[in-house]
Each structure stands twice: as C-alpha cells, then as structure tokens.
Symmetry: C2
Subunit: 116 residues, 2 copies
C-alpha cells in the first residue's frame, strides 16, 4: 500500500527495451521501460497496447502513419495493429499490458519482464 514512484523505479536500471513490472491493475502489468533506437515491427492480436511518455520522445510507426509522443502524451495501439516503436533519444515510458503479454508479440523473442 505504497505509491509507485515511476522515476525512482526507472533509476534502478539502464537497459533499453527491457520492461520492468512495477505494479498490477485488473490483470494487467504496469511497467516502466527505457527505450532508444528501433524496436521490431510487431502486433498483439489479443490486446491493445498502452504507451505513455514520461520523458524523451517516442515515435510509433503504424501501417499508414507515424505518431510522435512527447512527455504527458498517451497513445493506444489497437489490438492487431502492427507497429514499430522507436526513439532517437533515451525515452522513458509507462506501459500497460495484460500480464504475460510478450513485448514483441511473440513469446519466442520477447524480453523477460522482471518485477522490481
């Protein structure tokens, strides 16, 4: 029963594209992640994908467009829509996904999500 301080959680690691679980909400994992560079194109057939930028700038390539998110902005990639997150500067995100969702859309290539 203590607040989750996202910046404090983010200060405990340096790896990119390696989400850390910081809480739980209605069967979903609340996660923070540091990103820089390009992730892989992927989709999640069974879940929407929630992104909130805490610092930096996140670019999400979509099949027919590109969105750019700055701090305080949220974007939800609808389930089944292919997307590629990328960032030119180190960017910190809050992510929300159903517990167990592979971050690449494929369990074989997904990062292990460590709880911190």
């Amino acid at each position: 029963m203590t607040p989750i301080n996202l910046a404090e959680k983010l200060s405990t690691f340096t790896a990119h594209w390696s989400p850390r679980i910081v809480g739980a909400f209605n069967g979903h994992d609340l996660m923070v992640v540091k990103v820089q560079g390009e992730f892989v194109w992927h989709d999640h057939p069974d879940t929407d994908d929630f992104f909130m930028v805490l610092c930096g700038e996140l670019i999400i390539d979509l099949p027919d467009s590109t969105v750019t998110l700055t701090p305080g902005e949220v974007f939800v990639v609808p389930k089944g829509v292919r997307h590629r997150p990328r960032a030119t500067v180190e960017t910190h995100l809050l992510l929300i996904e159903p517990a167990g969702t592979p971050n690449t859309g494929d369990p074989a290539t997904a990062a292990t999500k460590v709880r911190i």
Copy 2:
C-alpha cells in the same frame, strides 16, 4: 490515430471531481480529472482503481493508512478496498477504470463521464 495530450485535455474544463474520457484501452476508459477538496468514501467491488498524479498532490485515505501521491506517482486501490481521495491543492489525475464504472462506486451518485 493521434496522441492523447493529457494537459491539453485538462485545459478544456475547470470542474472538480468530474472525469472526462480521453481514450479507451482493453475495455477500460482512460480519463483525466481535476480534483480539490474531499471526495466520498467508496469502493469498487469489481475493479481495481488506477490513479496517476500529473500535477498537484493526491491524498488517498484507506481503512488503515493514508498514501500521498506526487507527480509521476501511481497508486492502485485494490478492488473492494474502501478509499477516500482528497487534495488540498488543485490536482490533475490520469484515471483508468472499466468502461461504465461509477466514480462513487454507486450509479445513483456517480458523475456522468463526458468524452472529450
């Protein structure tokens, strides 16, 4: 397919304790709200309650403790746990609840959630 700028959404209204729906995620409403003063004690028997402070300071009274949240902090009230949010200064929040959840826990007293 555009980013949701939370500060921009919050700039469109002044009412307190009147959540506005700004997006959707896996059957949940994404909402912003401005709060100041005391809300009512209530619980949500079927859903956890997600709070993230964007600016200001949120105090959440719980049955046996009180938590204080500052900007960048998240707190999840587990389903069924009674709580009373309050704020001494105007505070802006991101809330996430299953679509249709009454903000007071009771449809009879709940605020209408307007989509903006």
